[in-house]
Symmetry: C2
Subunit: 113 residues, 2 copies
Amino acid sequence: MAKHHPELSLLFHALADSTRRSILARLSERPARVTDLSEPTGLRLPTVMRHIAVLEEAGLIATSKDGRVRTCAIVPEALEPVRTWLDEQRATWEARLGRLDAFAMKAMRERSE
Amino acid sequence: MAKHHPELSLLFHALADSTRRSILARLSERPARVTDLSEPTGLRLPTVMRHIAVLEEAGLIATSKDGRVRTCAIVPEALEPVRTWLDEQRATWEARLGRLDAFAMKAMRERSE
């Protein structure tokens, strides 16, 4: 079985919440202050802060503080392990389909001989 | 902000566990009985069953029962929403980079005039 990837678990966990995915989608357009993320969603500030902490822990966003204002920005390369994992899954699956095709072709050839 | 996608939340939640990702990787190679998944990992059968239930609820695997033997198989197209979501994130991000490039180019042109 595959090795453990605690990083992937953190990423998938962070993405498993629609509010956090909305925050990421919003930050893909441009960086934003925490209050900018709170107002349009109607979410309370502590709730937004909690989601931001999960996203930051997974490395999906970075935050910086200027006085009392915290600004958030996405870290787009952070999604690469997710994409790599998906590609690996697909490669294994397609290799298996390839073997099944080869098997079916061989069976057909043998039958026609 | 983006619409809610409970399906995506279920998928990401199912993927946020290294044992479940290992089970998926194993099933990408070929379908397997629940006991086949239990033995090499040293996981107890009830634990494997619980993980299988989460994967099945997310639509990532399908199971069938023949007498007392339950067989599991992956549903490879189930990962498509994850891939689509990743592509959308990247498209938004790249569009933003494109706008930044255009802005920088315009600023450089204006400076050289």
